[in-house]
């Protein structure tokens, strides 16, 4: 662990740390473009120069390792002048089309020019022209004129995805990023090149021109696209509702978590948020008895449910929980099942087709919280039935009430005719979920759930890591978080468990942590931004 001095401050860093990271540890920012901690050292942008005592001229910090006793200065007049020079070089052929560039507002040419440039432009000759607005894959748009040739995207495709679609072609100031002949940037992680592109060269075809980034709000969250639980930021558009085609969620961006996803996010997760603002969202409780599919208030829907539950023997009730529900939702459901004495409880509904999987981030299990469902004990009680058994007994007219959470059973692994027969043959079918489907259309009672970005809670990923997601936007329409629906029902049934008097998800989580050893000692505060492992 070498000790070195940076700007007069002594820091100790692990062996092999470069001076960009060491400076970070000393609280100093060394501007850079080509360096990325996940990628090999390119040393191309030449922006990260720092002064080192006893070294005659500034050195690039990215390729200089901290050594014992090294004395580094990141803000000498010479370093500042070098940065100004490098900024000028980066910008002489840049089109300066910020007003129509999607990157504006989060562009490191803008940021560093304001911080380290501020020279008067001297370029009076014709700039180099290159291709603009070239779609290079399903998700990525290339503007070669804005590109500063840092090669991060090239190295990403070489070193992270090992797909090698991108290269730098031509030489000198004619150099440009491009696809190798016969390829397209369509690997499963292609969207990451947009994130690591420090400028407006690679923009997101989905997000382009939808909303200016300075209107976005951000919330820390967890992708719900598979059991990996990649940490994400949800970027939402609330200040300009007429932008982004009226959708509130504008985009997802990966959020660093060394243990889960590092810097990355797969494309399926990145673009898998459209359901949140989709027209198919369920926004109001509906009750078939009150007219054909008529909207009703919660004040009428839940008492109706309670009445019907009270009219059933415990074994006449089936509960199909979902691994898309949070730990809090699942815990509230388990407590409710216990209060009712219902043993027919399960979450394992087979998917229509096995999910794809790779050796990087993508998991075959497309649910964010299967592990949480296991750990919270959402399964058949003694003598109770699993998901297949619940549907079979429903088909055999032995259930009076089937409460389905989120599952679109008609599009699941079970034969559609059998599923529909189960629905057909059950007196009361309750569907609780976020979006309409064939089951909600047939249900007697429909309870609208808030999407995960509209509430807060935790998911437990396949590794057993319990991770928080925060509220990014308010629930759509009259939708409620699942745990809240369950707690109101539980309270109306006279259950005394503290879960049913919770007003915040955190209180449900605290009850879970107190009751289930796997979550022992956990609090929202302790989970922080990157989560904690459940004690299995």
């Amino acid at each position: 662990m070498p000790k070195l001095t940076i700007n007069g401050k002594e820091v100790e860093v692990p062996e092999g740390t470069n001076l960009i990271e060491a400076a970070k540890a000393a609280g100093a920012e060394v501007p850079h473009y080509c360096y990325h901690p996940a990628l090999s050292i390119a040393g191309q942008c030449r922006l990260c120069m720092v002064d080192i005592d006893k070294v005659p001229r500034p050195q690039i910090a990215c390729n200089t390792q901290a050594t014992e006793g090294m004395v580094v200065h990141t803000e000498t007049e010479r370093v500042l002048e070098t940065r100004r020079s490098m900024m000028e070089f980066h910008l002489i052929n840049h089109p300066l089309d910020c007003p129509v560039c999607d990157q504006a507002g989060e562009c490191f040419l803008q940021i560093y020019y304001m911080k380290h440039g501020l020279y008067d432009p001297r370029m009076v000759d014709e700039k180099v022209h290159k291709p603009k607005a070239v779609p290079i894959g399903p998700h990525v748009m290339l503007d070669a004129e804005r590109c500063i040739l840092c090669s991060r995207c090239v190295r990403f495709c070489d070193e992270i995805t090992h797909t090698g679609e991108l290269g730098i072609f031509q030489r000198g100031d004619q150099s440009e990023i491009g696809l190798f002949p016969g390829t397209a940037l369509e690997n499963k992680y292609s969207g990451n090149v947009i994130d690591i592109c420090p400028v407006g060269a690679l923009t997101d075809r989905d997000f382009r021109f939808q909303v200016r980034v300075w209107y976005l709000d951000t919330a820390k969250s967890v992708c719900n696209g598979c059991a990996r639980g990649c940490n994400v930021e949800v970027h939402t558009n609330r200040h300009r509702p007429h932008h982004n085609q009226g959708r509130r969620v504008a985009r997802l961006k990966p959020r660093f978590n060394a243990e889960v996803n590092q810097w990355w996010l797969c494309d399926e997760g990145r673009y898998g948020f459209k359901w949140i603002d989709d027209k198919s969202r369920l926004t109001h409780p509906r009750h078939k008895g009150g007219g054909e599919g008529a909207e009703v208030s919660w004040d009428r829907a839940l008492p109706e449910l309670v009445k019907r539950l009270q009219g059933c023997q415990p074994d006449e009730v089936g509960l199909l929980a979902s691994p898309r529900m949070s730990n809090e939702d699942l815990w509230a459901l388990r407590r409710l099942a216990e209060h009712l004495g219902v043993r027919n409880l399960d979450f394992r509904v087979p998917p229509l087709a096995p999910g794809d999987e790779d050796d990087f981030l993508i998991r075959a299990d497309k649910n964010p919280n299967s592990r949480g469902a296991e750990l919270t004990g959402v399964g058949p009680g003694a003598g109770g039935r699993d998901a297949a058994g619940i549907l079979r007994t429903a088909r055999e007219r032995r259930l009076k009430l089937l409460w389905i959470f989120h599952h679109d059973l008609a599009a699941s692994g079970g034969p559609e005719a059998e599923v529909l027969a189960a629905i057909e043959n059950t007196e009361t079918v309750v569907f609780q979920g976020t979006n309409a489907n064939d089951i909600s259309a047939r249900a007697h009672l429909v309870l609208p759930s808030a999407a995960y970005v509209e509430t807060e809670g935790t998911f437990t990923n396949f590794q057993g890591r319990v991770q928080r997601f925060r509220t990014a936007i308010p629930p759509l329409g009259e939708s409620w978080p699942d745990w809240k629906i369950l707690s109101v029902v539980g309270k109306a049934l006279g259950a005394s468990d503290p879960v049913f008097s919770a007003e915040r998800a955190e209180q449900v989580f605290n009850a879970l942590a107190a009751a289930v050893p796997a979550f022992g000692g956990m609090t929202y505060r302790a989970l922080g931004d990157t989560g904690r492992m459940a004690t299995a």
Binding site: G43, C45, R46, F89, R122, D125, E126, L149, G172, D173
Partner: protein
């Protein structure tokens, strides 16, 4: 006339064949070296004061010593035969007329550094030298001088001849290695240096053709003899490629103590037509330009340096009074803009920028701030890049303007934009 060393076989018919090469005393250096300890060969080369003749002038024996001691990784000997520096054509002559001198030199170097595989990276445009050299390599294999267990010594050495594809940057040691590895010819970030992690990630020594061609003579005739041919800091003779306005352009071999004036006026017969000398580039296009009052310098590593220039590849370009220096700058700036690999921002962006400015000046659209802009941009970029390419471009940018500023100013003054 001093003794010829490197060019001694150049006028001998069929000297490119192993038969004639041997008749002329060829491969005696190897015969001696194969019985020497590797360390003794390196020591001899150090004592000879042999300095790299490709451009940087680094002491060859010292360079060999940079391979990490005790490393058991395979080591590669790479010959830089890319000879792309404008005004330089010496290696071409060596490979066409005396290719076995290079092969023998490689054998000696390989034994010294413990390499069993050598690559000759030859400039793509050098078709004839490539044909002749390839035939010579085949002859050496057939004669048992290359391959496994050479002459029963237990020493293996193979040579692969690899043709470049026409990029100047592939003459830069690490750009060459990238290209040899099958990648784009981009110079590599240092450290690590090639001697530690070079071609295919293994310790690699890159030497110039002419440098290696000196080795047989050093081993045969001794380090002291070789050192004695030159100056205190550099031994031997070297090949000067002379082009431009001289009566007899071509290749000149002379001890490195020869002066630039002697080369121009004695060896090459002076300036044709009785015209006046205007400027000389002493070491390939990357060397700063010299004025007529700066040519009384020895043409070793130190002489041109004393005038703020460099010996480089010893490609001497002579310009008489008919040459327009702004035109010359534009031509050289176009070359560097075209050849910049584009990897480092300062070089990629400013070589093109400076070419555009120099072109505009020549077109009569110069602005009064242009010269200071070029000088400032050149100075800001100098020393900031991965390789020495940009520093090579800065040599002409700055020296052409500083030494001939009034000529540029006259052009700009007559322009409408001034």
């Amino acid at each position: 006339m001093a003794e010829l060393v490197l060019t001694r076989n150049f006028e001998v018919p069929d000297a490119h064949t192993i038969r004639v090469y041997r008749e002329r005393g060829g491969y005696q250096g190897w015969e001696k070296a194969k019985g020497m300890e590797p360390a003794a060969i390196a020591e001899e080369v150090k004592k000879s004061n042999l300095r790299g003749l490709g451009g940087a002038g680094f002491p060859t024996g010292v360079k060999w010593g940079f391979i990490p001691k005790g490393s058991t990784a395979p080591r590669y000997l790479v010959v830089n035969a890319d000879e792309g520096e404008p005004g330089t054509f010496k290696d071409r002559y060596l490979m066409e007329r005396d290719p076995h001198a290079l092969i023998e030199g490689m054998l000696i170097a390989a034994r010294a550094i413990g390499s069993h595989l050598g690559f000759i990276y030859i400039r793509g445009e050098y078709v004839q030298p490539w044909r002749i050299l390839s035939a010579a390599v085949k002859e050496a294999y057939d004669a048992g001088l290359l391959g496994k267990n050479i002459q029963g010594t237990g020493f293996d050495f193979e040579i692969v001849v690899h043709r470049g594809a026409g990029a100047y940057i592939c003459g830069e040691e690490t750009g060459l290695i990238s290209s040899l590895e099958g990648k784009k010819g981009w110079p590599k970030v240092k450290p690590p240096f090639p001697a530690v992690k070079g071609a295919f990630g293994q310790p690699t020594i890159v030497n110039n053709v002419e440098t290696l061609a000196c080795l047989p003579h050093i081993i045969t005739r001794g380090a002291e003899w070789f050192a004695g041919l030159g100056t205190k800091t550099q031994g031997g003779t070297r090949l000067y490629s002379v082009s431009g306005h001289v009566v007899r352009p071509g290749l000149v071999e002379a001890p490195v103590s020869v002066t630039l004036r002697q080369i121009i006026y004695d060896h090459c017969g002076g300036i044709p037509g009785g015209r006046a000398l205007k400027a000389v580039v002493p070491g390939g296009s990357s060397a700063a330009i010299l004025t007529p009052d700066e040519i009384d310098i020895p043409m070793d590593v130190d002489g041109p340096k004393s005038k703020g220039s460099m010996i480089g590849s010893a490609g001497i370009i002579v310009m008489d009074e008919t040459v327009s220096i702004p035109d010359a700058l534009m031509v050289v700036a176009r070359f560097y803009a075209h050849e910049s690999c584009g990897q480092c921002t300062p070089c990629r962006e400013s070589t093109g920028w400076i070419y555009k400015i120099s072109h505009r000046i020549v077109e009569g659209k110069g602005r009064k701030e242009d010269l200071d802009t070029i000088l400032d941009v050149a100075r800001r970029g100098a020393g900031t890049t991965i390789c020495a390419f940009y520093d090579g471009a800065v040599g002409p940018y700055i020296s052409y303007i500083e030494k001939f500023r009034s000529e540029f100013e006259d052009l700009i003054r007559s322009s409408a934009h001034a």
